[in-house]
Amino acid sequence: MQRVPRWSIHLALVVICFFMLIPFYWVLKTSVAGENIFAYPPSLVPKDPHPFYFIDVWYDIPFARFFLNSVVVVTIVIVLNLVFNAMAGYALTRDFAGKKAILFVLLSCMMIPFQATIIPAYLITAKMGLLNTYLGLALPEVSHIICILVFKANFEAVPKSLVEAARIDGVPEWKIVYKIMLPLSKPAIATNIVFSFVWTWNHFLWPLIIISDQDMQTLPLGLSYFLSYFEDTTGALYAFCVMVLAPTVFVFLMVQRQFIQGLTSGSTKG
């Protein structure tokens, strides 16, 4: 790589970044556009930018309700994920009969895409009476195998001597996990939160299947209905997109390092 001049690398990267960012710019521009957005040629910068499309979204659809639904489901998923995955990950650091079998089952389950389970999953959820509920939305996602494995790897990296010493002192097992293991497992926790947030926040197919009550719609669902019903409020549609993407961008920029680390460690190291 030494012979390539730096400016050409920068140039290539600027071009690539331009293509990566242009859709974001375009939706942002449309969402504040003061001009007629159906006029040709389209204006490359917004004329007389105004926030009224956002205000329309706020009042014309129950945005706050959708947002709340999404937040509730994401919160349930994150909390249960942390608890369940940490527990399972910890159990898998112990030696017990049948551990190999259980690991095999988990690794096999990883090969079953969620999309291949939707029909029975829907029927099961209906049988449990959980259609149109937060719990029904959250349940299939309350544990992720990849995160269990991340926790397992992280716990195994905790010095054995520390745990042994605590055990000799008679510290109960749950306290060992809570007081010693977890504080040393921040990367795993971050990975878990990031995964759970991104997956659940963006999840569309599952809510689409089990939610029919408008009051229970999450943001992606609300967005897709807005797309099909409000064809004449195009500007507001893009404002809605911006409002839906903003939280992800916020989370991403806040925990960017953990975010990227988490996603890669989750998918590569396992």
Partner: protein, 126 residues
């Protein structure tokens, strides 16, 4: 203590706090300005105030407009609505024998925002 400090003073918490403060201030502002007062004047084609003109508050719906309420201008051509409960009302003024105004959309920043229109409604259409 260190943990507490780390939890309290990181950019995520601080940004969220800043956001919460901004939202709080905005809500205070809204609460102080949401009497739903919408006032303005009606003038004729010649620019002189028109008394007794009927002003209708409309709401834009999918296939046209829906009437919300009406009022009549006073001697100086002024009108006012209270509690209009809209975030983008449309105003229409008309008077027999003089004409009607164009449908004038008023964009508000929140529902029931108080607003005094700077431009009068001009009855320049027949």
């Amino acid at each position: 203590m260190d943990l507490l400090r780390a939890l309290l003073f990181n950019r995520a918490t601080l940004s969220l706090a800043a956001l919460a403060v901004a939202v709080g201030l905005w809500n205070v502002y809204v609460a102080a300005h949401d009497d739903g007062l919408l006032a303005g004047r009606v003038v004729g084609p010649d620019g002189r105030p028109v008394a007794g003109a009927k002003v209708t508050l409309l709401q834009q719906i999918l296939v046209g407009y829906e009437r919300i309420e009406s009022t009549t201008t006073d001697g100086r051509g002024a009108f006012r609505f209270t509690r209009h409960n809209q975030h983008k009302p449309v105003l229409l003024a008309e008077k027999d024998g003089v004409g009607a105004s164009a449908r004038t959309p008023v964009r508000l920043y929140f529902r029931n925002q108080n607003r005094v229109l700077a431009q009068p409604l001009r009855l320049d259409r027949n």
